[in-house]
């Protein structure tokens, strides 16, 4: 634990050793965004995740990966080869003053190097160690290999997404690792609260597969009770009405919008203002006007009913652009949202009004890059981007000389031996 000084963030006095790979970088980022002192530990020459694109100006350089930039802000960086005995010694020394260790090696790897939780907690009983793996530290699949695509599939999300006449589909920017990393951050901080009272840390075993299952809404309940397997339904939503699907993604003049038609108390925020607008434009047919939306339980309507609603609504939406529809939805207070591309997210006026975007200095490139900012706001501390992701070994001297007291000669020796 560092000396407590002026609070810069909620976790300011605490240190994280982040030796995780691509699957779990976001965990350390979240802790850094909350103010912790996160040290990204990479193998000499730089972590393999630096080869993941996209790249700044499409230059495939390990110091220009936008993937790396996005998920390693608020971290300082050192290089260290923990497969060497010297490297293991240095890591253990760092653990003495650390509060968290985050790793994503295969189960058993850290133990084999003498850096498993049992040994690290003997050095520092306070340590909280998060181990993030595709399937967990034990069990029949513990040694199975999985990238994001495979974890998303094994966790049940892929099955539920995409057009029924095409293969089930992932998100083109994969999400399993981000989810698992967020779960890991929540977990270590729950353990942290307890640790600060009891003085004892613990080991946190995070499964990427299981983290994916967390996002399945009521799909598992649909199997559990009525034994219905929810299936992918393209632009429709399954699972709201038992046995029927409702359209959610609708074409409009210049793209797509998201509109869910719901009855009951929420009808006045969904379909009713839309029908009123359609009526004003002469586009609402008798059927739409005859429905008692406020008393309609959309959980139990039939497919024929949904289809009948869909026809006039689809025709109407085609007349307008995304921007026009969203503006009207805001004016009339109903739930319709544009299917935004990245550029449209960047242009969003709500995010701008909340000062969400941050201009981050990249002096090594001679530019500032606009980043998405803090994931939360608070009256006590801000959670934004304090500094960019580290260059390879950028803080080696700060840590090895400044903290651990190695001499410049020793550091040079370690460097030449590829320990650092």
């Amino acid at each position: 634990m560092k000396n407590q000084s002026q609070v810069n963030g909620l976790l300011e006095p605490f240190r994280v050793l982040d030796i995780a790979g691509a699957e779990a970088l976001v965990c350390g980022k979240i802790l850094g965004d909350l103010g912790a002192d996160v040290i990204k530990v990479e193998r000499p020459g730089g972590d393999r995740a630096r080869n993941i694109g996209p790249f700044y100006h499409d230059i495939p350089d390990p110091q220009k990966s936008l993937f790396w930039f996005a998920f390693n802000n608020n971290k300082r960086g050192i290089t260290l080869d923990i497969e060497t005995l010297d490297g293991q010694c240095l890591f253990r020394r760092l653990v003495e003053t650390a509060d968290f260790v985050v790793e994503s090696f295969a189960p058993g790897y850290m133990d084999k190097l003498g850096l498993g939780y049992a040994l690290l907690s003997a050095i520092n009983p306070r340590i909280i160690m998060a181990s993030i793996t595709p399937f967990g530290q034990s069990g029949p699949y513990m040694d199975y290999k999985a990238n994001d695509l495979v974890a998303w599939a094994m966790g049940g999300q892929t099955y539920l997404s995409g057009d029924p006449d095409r293969p089930p589909v992932q998100v083109t920017f994969p999400q399993a690792h981000v989810n698992a990393s967020a779960q890991a951050a929540a977990a270590v901080l729950i353990a942290h609260y307890r640790r600060e009272i009891s003085g004892m840390g613990q080991h946190v075993d995070v499964s990427i597969q299981e983290s994916v299952t967390y996002t399945l809404m009521n799909a598992q309940q649909y199997w559990d009770i009525p034994k219905i397997i929810l299936k992918r339904s393209g632009c429709y939503r399954a699972g709201h009405a038992q046995g029927a699907m409702m359209r959610t993604v609708w074409q409009c003049r210049d793209g797509y919008v998201n509109l869910t038609i719901l009855g009951g108390t929420i009808a006045r925020l969904t379909i009713m203002p839309l029908v009123k607008w359609m009526k004003e434009q002469g586009a609402a047919d008798e059927f739409l006007l005859s429905v008692d939306w406020a008393n309609l339980d959309t959980h139990i309507v039939t497919q024929e009913f949904f289809d009948r609603i869909e026809e006039p609504v689809a025709k109407f939406l085609l007349l307008y652009t995304k921007a026009e529809l969203y503006a009207e939805a805001i004016k009339r207070s109903f739930i319709l949202y544009p299917v935004n591309s990245a550029g449209e997210v960047l242009a969003d006026r709500q995010l701008a009004a909340r000062d969400f975007w941050e201009h981050v200095d990249h002096s090594e490139l001679g530019v500032q890059i606009v980043y998405p900012g803090a994931f939360f706001k608070s009256t006590e501390a801000n959670g934004g981007i304090r500094f960019r992701a580290p260059l390879i070994g950028e803080h080696n001297l700060d840590i090895y000389e400044g903290e651990l007291g190695l001499t410049p000669k020793q550091v040079a020796s370690m460097k030449q031996a590829n320990v650092i």
Binding site: G139, L160, G162, N179, L189, N218, Q221
Partner: protein, 404 residues
């Protein structure tokens, strides 16, 4: 409960729908006492969410609600009455955290905004979450998680390049923001322990979800590039996709990211002639001829079950996994090993499965606690035991329909 990480913490939980309750569920399953404040005049829409115990709808029969709210207590309280607000304040005075996800302004309207709560309890931690945040021109615009997924850019990048976007299943931001919310709440709890100071947290689900797309957003801001949906493909791996297997709608996801994995992959396929064609030997060749590659692979996968393919590939060190349905998940041996499902018995839902958190603590494990509460089930406990209310007052509040 003493051996749990958040033992001794109490939450006055005004949340409803999904994002809020999924956040407070972490807190209750780690030993905190989470008291939901609910009203029959303002029913939590999740209480009407399918599927239902016994197939019949009812405000205490939703299995969806039962999963999101296991472990919590319920105080049935009418907040549109002055005495209801007073009672809420009495409860808050004993709480560490107040959580809510109403339309911004609602808590203030009831006299339960942060400034008011601070007068009751100076170190209160108030957690407010909403779709677009507590401030800004669209803060009060109505919202649903199934809509935010499109606003935040996820829908656009899910699906096939030659088709409208399908988006991914469900109200995805409702599930990506709770762990982020828990991270900041837990940090706030420790911050309070160290400094004695509470705070008001404002978590916009829109802003929180964008963290999950950060590299795509940087590709736009740094490179002016719009990324589009691309099915299951990956720039730096091939094959990388879901392949049709034997059976009805059965698929196996396979990802080959190195020459080594490609060699092993070909060996599992029995080193077919086509695999040694020059155009498939390198990653760049496979990327250039990806449609043909996928078609040829599927001729092999179609003859085999997804489970068999996964086992063969994994034995050879190639990442592969069944595209699992909810039925597959129930029978998954690894998830069973993890005790992924906690089976609870609820008075109206019946015996039902709820999901455990996706992480395991070595010393202070999470526990399911009681099944989800009936509406107002814990009125007596909260009023008598927690607040020391007299029988007379309790009956009076019931008669006045302040308590439900």
């Amino acid at each position: 409960m003493e051996n749990q990480a958040l033992a001794g913490i109490r939450v006055a939980d005004f949340t409803w729908f999904v994002a809020g309750p999924m956040t407070t569920r972490y807190i209750s399953e780690h030993g905190a006492e989470v008291i939901k404040i609910e009203s029959s005049s303002r029913i939590d829409p999740l209480r009407t969410g399918a599927p239902y115990g016994g197939g019949r709808p009812g405000i205490n029969r939703s299995a969806y609600y039962a999963d999101a709210n296991r472990g919590k207590l319920s105080l049935g309280l009418n907040l549109s009455t002055i005495r209801g607000i007073e009672l809420a304040k009495r409860l808050i005075a004993t709480a560490d955290i107040v959580t809510e996800n109403f339309t911004p302004g609602t808590m203030e309207k009831w006299g339960l905004g942060y400034d008011e709560l601070r007068k009751i309890k100076p170190d209160i931690i108030m957690f407010s979450t909403s779709q677009q945040g507590q401030t800004g021109p669209l803060a009060v615009h109505p919202a649903l998680g199934t809509s935010l997924v499109s606003l935040a850019g996820f829908t656009h990048v899910t699906g096939w390049p030659d088709r409208p976007p399908t988006g991914l299943f469900g109200a995805y931001p409702d599930y990506i923001s709770p762990p982020l919310a828990v991270a900041v709440i837990a940090a706030a709890l420790d911050y309070r322990r160290r400094t004695g100071r509470g705070q008001h947290i404002d978590l916009s689900q829109y802003e929180a979800s964008l963290l999950a797309l950060a590299p795509f957003l940087l590709d736009y801001t740094a490179n002016a590039r719009e990324n589009d949906r691309d099915g299951n493909r990956c720039d730096y791996a091939a094959p990388h996709g879901a392949f049709r297997c034997r059976g009805d709608d059965r698929w196996c996801a396979i990802a080959v990211s190195s020459d080594q994995e490609w060699r092993e992959f070909c060996r599992v396929l029995g080193n077919p002639m086509w695999a040694s064609e020059p155009r498939f030997v390198t990653l760049s060749g496979r990327k250039q001829n990806e449609a043909d590659l996928e078609r040829l692979i599927e001729e092999w996968t179609m003859d085999r079950s997804a489970e068999e393919i996964m086992a063969l590939m994994q034995k050879a060190g190639v990442p592969a996994g069944v595209v699992q349905s909810s039925e597959d998940l129930r029978n998954d041996p690894q998830l069973m090993h993890r005790e992924h499902l906690w089976i609870l018995n609820h008075p109206e839902v019946g015996v039902h499965a709820t999901t455990a958190p996706p992480f395991r603590f070595s010393k202070t494990p999470a526990k399911p606690g009681r099944p989800a509460p009936l509406l107002g089930e814990h009125n007596e406990y909260v009023c008598h035991k927690l607040l020391g209310m007299s029988d007379e007052e309790f009956v009076e509040l019931l008669d006045a329909k302040v308590l439900e």
